[in-house]
Every structure is written in structure tokens, then in C-alpha cells.
């Protein structure tokens, strides 16, 4: 599932400025603060993390463009509990809740 070398080359250029190092362990996007920018390392739905049928959350995330290697940036967050979040993914913006974003691991 590793996607080294698969770069889109047109993501928001913020990830360079953010200075993330390749050595840090992937963390869930659901915990990331507003302004975070990075790349998707993998999509893993933890057991019991979704009320949807098995595999469904993963499929929906992929259908909205959350795939390995894609550039992501948290643009906005809601007023209450900093939820939901608006995520720039490559060239589009998608709103989702932090709960579902826990399945997206980013570096």
C-alpha cells in the first residue's frame, strides 16, 4: 500500500513549508490541527470505528479522493468541538467529521 514516488506534483505547496520530516510516524488526520498539511500515508478503518458495514467507510473515503499519496490540508474547522473539518485534498475541498478522519493516516 506504500505509494512512494507517486506524487501528484500539484498539491498545496504548504507541506514543504510545514517542514514535516519523512521519519515521523503517520498520525490520524482526525487529530490534526487546523492549518495542518501533509500527505496521506494510508487509510485504515479501526475495528468498531465506523457504524457502516465493513469496508464501506474506506470505499467512501476513496470515492471522495482520500487515497494514498494525496496531499491534504485542513482549511477550516467547526465552532463546536473543532468539528467538522474542511480538508483540501489535491484540488478539491471536502467536509467531514473528525471521527471519520481518524481512519486517514497522514505524515
Amino acid at each position: 500500500m506504500a505509494t512512494n514516488g507517486h506524487s501528484n506534483g500539484h498539491g498545496p505547496n504548504g507541506h514543504a513549508a510545514n517542514g514535516h520530516n519523512g521519519g515521523s510516524a503517520p498520525a490520524p488526520l482526525g487529530h490534526a490541527p487546523r492549518g495542518f498539511s501533509g500527505r496521506i500515508e494510508t487509510i485504515v478503518v479501526a475495528e468498531g470505528a465506523s457504524d457502516l458495514p465493513e469496508g464501506e467507510l474506506e470505499r467512501r473515503l476513496i470515492e471522495l479522493g482520500f487515497t494514498e499519496g494525496a496531499a491534504v490540508e485542513i482549511l477550516h474547522e467547526g465552532a463546536f468541538g473543532r468539528d467538522p473539518i474542511a480538508v483540501r485534498i489535491n484540488n478539491a475541498t471536502v467536509a467531514l467529521r473528525r471521527r471519520e478522519a481518524m481512519a486517514i493516516f497522514v505524515i
Partner: protein, 627 residues
């Protein structure tokens, strides 16, 4: 050219992801030659239209519900899948799939194209909004894209003049050619690894054929910085709603006065030229008064729809869902429920039908149950009438009108009670039901096109006028009949209506409604008001005008101000916030939930709330000296 191509009408289908501008393209291609119906057995709207190609060939075009994948998750998406795969018994599979993509946002659309390719039907990819893409510096190598995808590609700008010329020429060519018999479809629901592979392939093709600018749409970014700001965003959303309701109340007034005086003039004409008696009464009290008192609200309904259409075309509706998600979630509703509920301000029927975007059945049901509590435009006539008769027209805080504020208050009560009811339903009935995810694409802002807004307004106006011409008109005739027959005996001194069936019916129900301060005239008006809320206004007009005889030429508002106490008026307002007085809404609930049970539940809980609210309002008002 074959005989088939000469005579048979080709059937093309538009398919695409949400926000691809598919509907704008459909409007541009078919113009006003559109037909909206339902797919049999389901309540998904079937939008189709006739298209004439440059060489005069006629093509029937169907606009399929937007979807990211054929892996259907909602009734709408199931229709799209079934039509594409030719699984629908009522419909032969389309001869050509026209896949519409937003040229500025190709990633998800190209994955859909790859999936559609596996269906094995003729396919054409249209890169819509190419003008915006060019303006932003997106460079697309069309030939390369077409070669990589193995699908013909054409560009279009649906909202520009001449923006669909090239597409029309291409459709013409394809309609003329031999389309072949549809092969059996090889499509199967993709697994996660197939989805991943397809997205990777789509990304590879984009990298090969598309050059994107370094920066995303800066206008959208800048606007969102304010409009999606945790605090400012919510304040702006509230302000938009506030302006909307003030506008409905004040902007419409001149047009309403004009319509009102038109009907008044018509009534006077009839009174002058038609001899006294039944015919005059029928024309004046039944037809002109009845229909006029409903038609007068057309300006308000159009203003409300104007706001909703503008916000939708602007791309703001998805933002509103984002801002409201937590608040709605606290009440046990889905963030996506915001759009259906907002549409319910116009009318609960499109609102309830719009709940199809909610894929979780429980969430959808809750939204359907509370949608009729949102203040629909049919309540506006009743509210306006009572407010202008009983609430003084003065300014408060130097900028807002007291009447507008009361109106705003009534809307607020509707919203709060909708949230309250869904909260209770979630807490007590559906405790163990899991929360479904909220995932929504936020499209780039686009300036609404006057043409598409006008087309939307035209459709709404037509629907309203049709309703006024059929349901409301026949109800008015019925009311006039009930209020006029049997005729009073010769030499009777009491008003004629006292002898009528209406009076008898009204007196029959009156004891039930007396505790909430309703007299028998209101009781009579509420009966046809069950069919449609706004009819009650007309019915009151008819009842009071037949009661008053010729002298009651004065306006209905003045009559009410003389005949009702303030407590009765307020109780009537409270009643109307909740009462399930709309046969069409109940019918739609039955159809959408597929059960009589949920229709009955809605009717019962709303009626109970209406009675309790009116009872409390009346008694509190009387205790405060407004009796």
C-alpha cells in the same frame, strides 16, 4: 445512414458527480423543453428533455441524479445505476452515456469515467466549465486525455452563449452513427483495492494530460476564510436567514398590493355587472375572493425561492451544511438534513423529497418527520394576514419592523420545535442507532447565472399557479357551496350563512376548538385548510363575506381585526406553527416512507402539538388581558 437513425429517437443520458454543472448543461441543451416526472415505484425525479441537434435530429436526453460511483448508496444513486446498466424495466438503456465533469476538478470524475467504461456502453466525456478552467490557468491536453482514457472528450461551457455548440455537433455525429446493440454489462461493484487502483490510474492520467496552476481558486479560499470562520460564519448564516425573512415580508408588499387591488377591481366589476344572486355570489365570493386571496402571495413565495436558488447556485448551501453539522447533530440530525430543512421553508414537499440525499434510513426518516414543522410558504398567507391585522406596524430598535420580528419569531419557533422533536425521537426511540458519517464536497463558489435562476423561479411559479388553479380553486368552490346551501328561508333576518351546511359543521367541531379560542367560523375554515394551509385564509374570507352580505366588501384583515380577540389571533398563529394541515405533504410522507404508519405518526404528533400550543397561547393571552 440507416432507417433506424432516421426515424428512431436516440436516447442519451447525462451522468456526473455532484457539482459538475450537469444540471446547467441539461438546461442549456434542452431549454424549456423539459419534463419532470417520477421513476415508477420510487420517488426519484426523472428529468428528461428533448434536444434538437444542428442537423435537426431529435434526441431525448435524461438527466440522471449525480453520483460519485455506480455503487449506489441512496435511492437516487440506485436509479442512476439501474438506468446506466439497463436494469430498469420502464426504460431501455441509453444509447449514449454523456459523462459530465467539472474541468477545474477532474480527479473524482475521471475515476467515475473509468468505472463507466467497464459498463461497455458508448461513452462521451464532457469537460464542463472549461471557461472557468482556462481562466484559472488549468491546461488540459484534450487529445492526450482522450487517448489515455480511451473515451472521446469534448469541452463545453454550459452557461456561456455558444458554449455547447461543439458538444451539439458531436452529439449530432454520434446520433447519426450506428450505435450498435447494447452489450451485456460487465460492471460489478468495485472492491476497495479496485477503487484505489482506479483512482491511481485517474491520477496518472491527470498528471499526463492536465497542468494545474500552483494555487487553488483564491477567491473561494478568501471567501471561505470568512464564511466558514467558526464565529463569523455562523453570524453571517444567521444574518442571511434574517435578511431573507425581512425581504419576504417587506419587498413583496408593492406587488401584493397590486395583485390585491386587481382582484378587488374584478370583484367590483362583477358586482356592478352581474345581477344580485347566486351567480354573483359564486363569482365574487367563491372564485375571485377565494383564488385572489391565495394568488396574492405569489410575490412572497417567489422572493423566498429566489434566495434559496441564489444560495444553491452560489455554492453556499454545502457551506451552510458544514456550519450547521454540529448543531444539527446535537439534535440528532445529519448535517445534510440542513438542505432539505431549508428547502422546507419554501415547501415541505420538495424538502421531504430532498431528504433522499441522506443515505441513512433512520436519519432520513427523522428529517422527513420534522420537515413539515419548518415554516413553509403556505403558512405565509395565514401569518401575514393575522400579523397585519393584529400586530401594530411600528419600528423597533430603529431598524426592524415589529411585524417582521413576529414573523421571524414564528419561523424560530418552527425551527426550534423541529430540532426539539428530532432530539426527542433520537433520545427515546432510536437510542441505539449508530451515527452515520457526514461527508460532503464543498464546491468552488460560482456566480449564479440569471438564466438558471429565472428558470428555477419560473418552474416554482408554474407549480404554485397550477396548485392555485386546481386544488385551491376546487376547495374554494366547495367552501362557497357549503357556506351558501341550503339557502335561508324567505324572510329570515339572520345572515344567510347561519342556515348553511358550513355553519352546521362549524358548530359541530366548535366545542372541540372552543378551549383554544376558535369560533365556528375558524372551525369551518380549518376543514378545507386540511387540504392546503393557505386555503384557510380564503375560506375565512368566503365565510365572513357571505355572512356579512354585500356590506362585507371590506378587506378580510379588517374583518378579522373586528371579529377576533387578540388572544384568538395569537392562538391561531400558534396553531399554524404546528398543525398538519396539508394533504399533499402527508401524501408525500406516505410515499417517501412507503408506509401509512409514518404518515399517521406525523399527523398525530403535529395535531397534538398544535392543540397544546394553541391552548397554552390562548389561556396565557386571556390571563394577560388579551381576551
Amino acid at each position: 445512414m440507416t432507417v433506424m437513425a432516421e426515424t428512431g429517437t436516440r436516447r442519451f443520458a447525462l451522468i456526473g458527480t455532484p457539482n459538475s454543472g450537469k444540471t446547467a448543461l441539461f438546461n442549456a441543451l434542452t431549454g424549456s423543453r423539459q419534463k419532470v416526472a417520477n421513476y415508477p415505484g420510487v420517488t426519484v425525479e426523472r428529468k428528461s428533455g428533448a434536444l434538437r441537434t444542428p442537423s435537426g435530429r431529435s434526441v431525448s436526453l435524461v438527466d440522471l441524479p449525480g453520483t460519485y460511483s455506480l455503487r449506489a448508496r441512496s435511492p437516487d444513486e440506485e436509479v442512476t445505476r439501474d438506468v446506466v446498466l439497463g436494469r430498469l424495466a420502464s426504460e431501455t438503456a441509453p444509447d449514449l452515456l454523456v459523462c459530465v465533469a467539472d474541468a477545474t476538478n477532474l480527479r473524482l470524475a475521471l475515476r467515475l469515467v473509468l468505472e463507466l467504461k467497464s459498463v461497455g456502453r458508448p461513452l462521451l466525456l464532457v469537460l464542463n466549465m472549461i471557461d472557468i478552467a482556462k481562466h484559472r490557468g488549468v491546461e488540459i491536453d484534450i487529445d492526450k486525455l482522450s487517448a489515455e482514457l480511451g473515451v472521446p472528450v469534448i469541452t463545453a461551457a454550459a452557461v456561456r452563449r455558444g458554449g455547447t455548440d461543439e458538444l451539439l455537433r458531436r452529439l449530432d455525429e454520434m446520433a447519426a452513427g450506428e450505435m450498435g446493440t447494447p452489450a451485456a454489462s460487465a460492471w460489478q461493484a468495485p472492491t476497495t483495492s479496485e477503487l484505489r487502483a482506479a483512482q491511481r490510474e485517474a491520477d496518472r492520467i491527470i498528471k499526463a494530460a492536465v497542468k494545474l496552476p500552483a494555487k487553488p481558486d483564491t477567491l473561494t479560499t478568501r471567501l471561505d476564510a470568512v464564511l466558514l470562520h467558526p464565529v463569523a460564519g455562523l453570524v453571517i448564516l444567521l444574518a442571511i436567514l434574517f435578511v431573507m425573512f425581512q425581504a419576504v415580508f417587506s419587498w413583496a408588499q408593492p406587488a401584493m398590493d397590486l395583485i390585491q387591488s386587481g382582484f378587488d377591481g374584478l370583484g367590483t366589476l362583477v358586482q356592478t355587472w352581474v345581477p344580485d344572486g347566486l351567480v354573483q355570489s359564486f363569482l365574487k365570493d367563491g372564485v375571485i375572493n377565494g383564488v385572489g386571496s391565495v394568488l396574492v402571495f405569489l410575490p412572497q413565495i417567489l422572493i423566498l425561492f429566489l434566495f434559496i436558488l441564489l444560495l444553491e447556485d452560489l455554492g453556499y448551501m454545502a457551506r451552510a451544511a458544514f456550519l450547521m453539522d454540529r448543531i444539527m447533530g446535537g439534535a440528532g440530525l445529519h448535517g445534510r438534513a440542513f438542505i432539505p430543512l431549508l428547502s422546507s421553508f419554501a415547501c415541505a414537499i420538495p424538502g421531504i423529497m430532498a431528504t433522499r440525499v441522506i443515505d441513512n434510513p433512520r436519519d432520513r426518516l427523522t428529517t422527513i418527520l420534522v420537515a413539515p414543522l419548518m415554516t413553509c410558504s403556505a403558512r405565509i398567507p395565514v401569518y401575514t394576514l393575522i400579523i397585519s391585522a393584529f400586530i401594530p406596524n411600528k419600528e423597533v430598535w430603529g431598524f426592524a419592523s415589529l411585524q417582521g420580528l413576529v414573523m421571524f419569531g414564528l419561523y424560530t419557533v418552527g425551527i426550534v420545535s423541529a430540532l426539539g422533536v428530532s432530539f426527542i425521537a433520537k433520545q427515546f426511540f432510536w437510542r441505539d442507532t449508530p451515527t452515520p458519517p457526514f461527508m460532503l464536497e464543498l464546491p468552488d463558489y460560482k456566480l449564479p447565472r440569471p438564466r438558471s435562476v429565472l428558470m428555477g423561479l419560473y418552474t416554482r411559479a408554474k407549480m404554485f399557479l397550477q396548485r392555485a388553479g386546481t386544488t385551491i380553486f376546487s376547495m374554494m368552490v366547495l367552501i362557497w357551496f357549503l357556506a351558501s346551501f341550503p339557502r335561508p328561508p324567505a324572510g329570515a333576518t339572520e345572515p344567510a350563512i347561519d342556515f348553511s351546511i358550513a355553519a352546521w359543521l362549524g358548530h359541530l367541531i366548535e366545542p372541540l376548538l372552543a378551549p383554544v379560542g376558535f369560533n365556528w367560523q375558524i372551525s369551518v375554515a380549518l376543514i378545507p385548510g386540511m387540504a392546503a394551509r393557505e386555503v384557510a385564509v380564503a375560506a375565512l374570507g368566503t365565510v365572513y363575506s357571505i355572512e356579512g352580505g354585500k356590506e362585507a366588501a371590506e378587506q378580510i384583515g379588517q374583518v378579522l381585526a373586528n371579529k377576533w380577540t387578540l388572544a384568538t389571533a395569537l392562538a391561531m398563529l400558534a396553531w399554524y406553527v404546528f398543525a398538519p394541515q396539508c394533504a399533499s405533504t402527508l401524501a408525500v410522507i406516505k410515499r417517501e416512507t412507503g408506509s401509512w404508519k409514518w404518515m399517521a405518526v406525523t399527523f398525530a404528533y403535529m395535531l397534538t402539538l398544535a392543540y397544546i400550543a394553541a391552548l397554552i397561547t390562548y389561556n396565557v393571552a386571556v390571563a394577560l388581558g388579551a381576551g
